[in-house]
Amino acid sequence: MLKKHPIITFLFFGFVLFLISNRLDELRVYQGATVAVYAIGIASLILLIGYSGQVSLGHGALLAIGGYAAALARIHYESPVWLTFVVAVLAAAIGGALLGLAAARLSGPYLAGTTLALAIGLPSIANQFLILGGEQGLIFDVGPPPSSLGEDFTQYKWFFWISWTVALITLYWLRNILNSRYGRGWRAVRSNDVAAELAGIHAGRNKVLAFTISAGLAGLAGALLGMLLIVSPGVYSLALSFSLATGAVLSGVTTLGGVMIGAVTLVAIPEIALAIADRYGSETITTNLPGLLVSALLILTVLFVPNGPVEQLHAKRAKKGHSSHSPVEISVRVGHKTWSTKK
């Protein structure tokens, strides 16, 4: 259904969410909003890592740029909320473009390490400049829900609505981009940049574009996250970067289809851990179990389902449909670099 009538699917999903939000209590509504934010963040990583093949361990820094930009626009210029989101996207996109330019010449662990250093370093800037609020951060206040929605419409429901509207629109847009020639271009450069260049794709520009768009999405997620909590270094920590990377791997880095799996898992795991801790009543479990579950899940996924559950499913279906022999593949090897027709 998704393939044939994408708009209808998205609208339908939105409608379902609307219905659900009226039935859930505040806690679940709040968590639901968080799922939406993670979905955008994970989608940005899927674009960057899965499609463009560039690894970023520091996306938290890009979320931070978006969050701070939105908060500052709101606090100092009293911008309307939709404008603050635009500002967040632009600011983060610029950051991403710069990072992408620097990163275009790096690969693998160098890129990973550099983004890691950024993730650790950027939040500490907040402590340098008074205007950024230091450790206690800034409050990004989107204001109360409009009175037309009624007296009972709580603030958290309003967050839920904003987050999901933005998430659905963003995911729809991203899906179109990934299926377009840009998406194909990224995949081409990822599997073989030399061949892609020969086919007329400018690899460097292509990579920077991926970083820019991914960063813009991250900035949007960062602004929403700031709305839900506060905009402070503690929110955009290294842990956030790792969580998003984990979510991306859990979802299946190469395809957007599984993005909800990662997002829901990230929110569900602390819940599960809490439930277990309540059962066994141990302080140590509450503190340590979520981290353990997430990390263990990450290792297991990358070991056994490296391309993600969705892709794994597709592969199984493809195998069933076709003959039992694998298709012909050609490999060429020069030195220790290999080109092959297998993806």
Binding site: I49, G113, A117, G121, N288, A296, L298, H336
Partner: protein, 302 residues
């Protein structure tokens, strides 16, 4: 003038710890072509081993080498279980490039959680065996103490020792060959997988030393959230890259440069800028001299 001297000594002191971390990262890279982001986590775990050993044996000088052995064993274990399985299952597709990175990140998380389970999150103390008070010259106290002097000498000794192994022994040759051209090494009769494990083991020992010495050279307090260990991870990596991931003396040089620059920033400008400056330094080196100061042109991209 005194401030300058303080700065140099603080820088050298910090550099000696970072270089241990950098050495262990370079070791892993040179023997298995993986950057182990869990290195600092393993160093943290080894520091806790050290804490337990010092507590039970009561003698730091015995506990240190024992903890290094435990660190080596743990590291070898990880290579055996995790990295080999990874190689078998995840060597296709876009995930192949980042699978080791993600796996080591996951490992970091698991180690943190396990440490939290066993030892809790409160600070534990490792008693420093030497005095932490700076040497006195007449009226002035300089910022180098017997403890930090020991760390410095230890690092120099370790670096010389490991370099000799790598450059002058057959094992060292095997280590380098297995990383650079595993198929050829195998043809030459080298048990590549065993050698890789050995590489991780040596790195684990260096990392363990880094973790323990970092703790006793500081306040002696150890906890899973110690800021010092995130620093260790990032600064160790940056030091390794600045010096050139391929080169062991490079790792030490990189750590020295990093340590001095950061100390200068801390003393003359402001302590809160250290991360940003470290990041900018990294970026600068990667853009201007990507192979690092002592690295050779080949092999940066691989």
């Amino acid at each position: 003038m005194k401030q300058f001297l303080d700065m140099v000594l603080i820088g050298i002191s910090a550099a000696s710890i970072y270089s241990l971390m950098a050495i262990s990262m370079v070791l892993v890279w040179r023997s298995t072509r993986v950057v182990n982001f869990a290195q600092a986590g393993m160093a943290l775990l080894s520091a806790y081993f050290g804490y337990e050993l010092v507590g039970r044996i009561g003698n730091f000088w015995i506990a240190l080498p024992l903890a290094m052995i435990l660190g080596a064993a743990f590291s070898a274990f990880i290579e055996f279980v995790l990295m080999r399985t990874l190689q078998k299952h995840s060597n296709q597709g876009p995930i192949a490039a980042i699978a080791p990175i993600i796996a080591t990140l996951g490992l970091l998380g698991v180690i943190h959680a396990v440490i939290g389970f066993i030892w809790g999150h409160a600070d534990v103390q490792i008693q420093a065996p030497l005095s932490n008070v700076g040497f006195k010259f007449g009226e002035t106290t300089i910022v180098m103490s017997p403890m930090s002097l020991f760390v410095l000498l230890f690092v120099i000794a370790l670096m010389i020792f490991v370099s000799i192994i790598f450059q002058k022994t057959n094992i060292g040759l095997a280590l380098r060959a297995s990383a650079f051209a595993p198929e050829i090494a195998q043809l030459a009769g080298i048990r590549v997988s065993g050698i890789r494990t050995l590489g991780w083991a040596i790195a684990g020992a260096a990392g363990a030393a880094a973790g323990i010495l970092q703790t006793v050279n500081g306040t002696g307090a150890l906890s899973p959230e110690s800021l010092e260990f995130s620093l260790l991870l990032v600064f160790g990596f940056i030091a390794a890259v600045i010096g050139g991931l391929e080169s062991l003396p490079g790792a030490v040089l990189g750590a020295l440069i990093l340590g001095l620059v950061l100390a200068a920033v801390q003393i003359y400008i402001s302590g809160s800028l250290v991360f940003i400056v470290a990041f900018l330094l990294l970026l600068l080196v990667l853009i201007l001299r990507p192979q690092g100061f002592l690295g050779s042109k080949a092999g940066r991209r691989a």
